[in-house]
C-alpha cells in the first residue's frame, strides 16, 4: 500500500514516514497541499492513505482535503489530518471537508497505528 505524507516540516515527514514505513507502506512526500495535488495528478498509482498537516504554505491541508474530495478518481484515498490544531470545531470542520480521521500532534507511534487500525489500513485491521 502507498501513503502520501503532506507536511511542510521535513522532520515531521520523516517521523510519520518512518511509522508508516514500518507498518508496511511505501511512503511518498509532499511539502504542501499544491505539491501533493500535483503528485496525485502525475503518473503512478493513487495512494491508499494521505496524512495531511493543516497549516502549510501555498495550500493548507483543509483546502487540499476539500480539493481531493472534488475528484471522483481520488475517492478511494483515506484522508487523515495530522495537526497541532486541537479545537473541537476544527476537528468537525476537517471531518466535514472529507477527512476520515484526525490525529492531534504530538502523538506516539502507537496512537498513529491505532488510528490506521480504526481506518482498516493495517494488515490485522477489522475497522470499527
Amino acid at each position: 500500500m502507498r501513503a502520501l505524507v503532506v507536511d511542510d516540516s521535513r522532520a515531521m515527514r520523516r517521523i510519520v514516514g518512518r511509522i508508516l514505513g514500518d507498518a508496511g507502506f511505501e511512503v511518498l512526500e509532499a511539502a504542501d497541499g499544491q505539491e501533493a495535488l500535483d503528485l496525485l495528478a502525475g503518473p503512478g498509482d493513487v495512494p491508499e492513505l494521505a496524512c495531511v498537516d493543516w497549516n502549510m504554505p501555498v495550500m493548507d491541508g483543509l483546502t487540499f482535503i476539500t480539493e481531493v474530495r472534488r475528484h471522483p478518481e481520488w475517492r478511494a484515498i483515506t484522508l487523515m489530518m495530522v495537526t497541532t490544531e486541537s479545537e473541537s470545531d476544527q476537528i468537525v470542520r476537517a471531518l466535514a471537508a472529507g477527512a476520515h480521521e484526525y490525529l492531534i500532534k504530538p502523538f506516539t507511534g502507537e496512537a498513529m497505528l491505532e488510528k490506521l487500525d480504526l481506518l482498516g489500513l493495517l494488515p490485522t485491521s477489522t475497522g470499527v
Binding site: 486541537s86 473541537s88 476537528i91
Partner: protein, 279 residues
C-alpha cells in the same frame, strides 16, 4: 501486592537513566502493576524476585522490557477494538432481545483510569438496539488513584489520541484547558468503586456483561480459578464475559465455554452449570 522499597528504587533509577522519566514515590502501584506480567512471564513468583534477578543478571534486553513497560503508559480507548465491535454487533443486540425491562448492567472489573468503562458506555450508545435503554456500568479497580482519575473523566491530548475515533471525540468530549473532559451524560452512567478482585466481592447484583480484560494475567492459577468462580456468581445466567486476547478460561475454570464472536471470543457459563450457580 506490594513492591519493596529496594525494588522500587532499582526500577526508578533504571527508568530514569534510560528514559528520563521520573517515577515519583507513590508510583509503586504503577510499577507493580506493569511488572507483574513480566515477572510471571519470566517465571518469578512476584515483582521483587523478578527485580532481584534483573539487578544481578543485568540482561540488556530484559532491562529494556522493564523500561518499555513503564513508559508506554496510556491506556487505549476501545482497546484492541475487536471486543467492542463484538459487543456492539453481537452481544448487546442479543441481550436486547431478552431483557424486557430495557436495562443492562455491565461490570468493568479492572477499569484503571476509566477508558474501558467509558468506552463501554459509548459503545452501548452506538448500538441501535439499545436506543432508550438504561445501561449502567460499575467500574472497579484496586487503586483509589486510578478511580479518582476515572471519576474526574478528564484526559490529556496524548490520552485521547489513543484509539479514539475523531467523530467519537467531538461527540462525547469537550475541551477543558489543555485536556478533554467526557460529557456528563456519559459520566452519569458509570459508577466507580474500589474493589480487590482477590477478596470476596461486595454485594453488587447480577451483571449482563463483565469485562475482565488483561487482569487475570496478574494472578497465579488458584487465584485465577477463584476469581472466575466468583465472577460466575455475579453473572446473569446468560451473561457474557470478555477476557484479554491472551487470556482464556480453558484449563482454569471449565464451567465457562468459549463462544467465537466476530474476530474475538466471549465466554458464557455452560448451560449445565447455570442452574447450580449459588447466589
Amino acid at each position: 501486592m506490594t513492591i519493596s522499597p529496594q525494588a522500587f528504587t532499582f526500577v526508578r533509577e533504571l527508568v530514569r537513566a534510560e528514559s528520563a522519566i521520573v517515577l515519583e514515590p507513590g508510583k509503586e502501584y504503577l510499577v507493580e502493576s506493569r511488572l507483574v506480567p513480566l515477572a510471571r512471564e519470566a517465571g518469578h513468583p512476584d515483582v521483587d524476585a523478578y527485580v532481584a534477578d534483573l539487578s544481578t543478571r543485568r540482561s540488556q534486553a530484559a532491562l529494556m522490557k522493564v523500561v518499555e513497560a513503564l513508559t508506554t503508559n496510556e491506556t487505549s480507548w476501545f482497546r484492541d477494538s475487536d471486543p467492542y465491535t463484538t459487543l456492539r454487533k453481537e452481544v448487546l443486540p442479543l441481550l436486547a432481545k431478552t431483557r424486557p425491562n430495557r436495562e443492562l448492567r455491565v461490570w468493568a472489573a479492572a477499569c484503571s483510569s476509566g477508558q474501558e468503562p467509558y468506552s463501554i458506555v459509548m459503545t452501548a450508545l452506538d448500538t441501535p438496539e439499545l436506543a432508550g435503554w438504561k445501561t449502567d456500568v460499575i467500574a472497579t479497580d484496586l487503586s483509589e488513584e486510578m478511580l479518582e482519575r476515572g471519576r474526574r473523566g478528564e484526559y490529556s491530548q496524548l490520552e485521547v489520541n489513543r484509539g479514539m475515533p475523531a467523530t467519537t471525540l467531538v461527540r462525547h468530549f469537550e475541551r477543558s484547558g489543555l485536556n478533554w473532559r467526557i460529557n456528563q451524560s456519559i459520566k452519569d452512567r458509570v459508577q466507580f468503586r474500589q474493589l480487590n478482585l482477590t477478596r470476596p466481592f461486595p454485594p453488587m447484583g447480577k451483571f449482563d456483561v463483565v469485562f475482565l480484560r488483561n487482569v487475570l494475567i496478574y494472578f497465579d492459577l488458584p487465584t485465577k480459578q477463584d476469581i472466575l468462580r466468583r465472577v460466575r456468581q455475579v453473572m446473569a445466567p446468560d451473561g457474557h464475559l470478555f477476557l484479554g486476547a491472551a487470556e482464556m478460561t480453558m484449563g482454569v475454570d471449565d464451567a465457562w465455554e468459549r463462544v467465537p464472536a466476530g474476530r474475538s471470543s466471549v465466554y458464557r457459563i455452560r448451560e449445565e452449570q447455570r442452574t447450580c450457580v449459588p447466589w
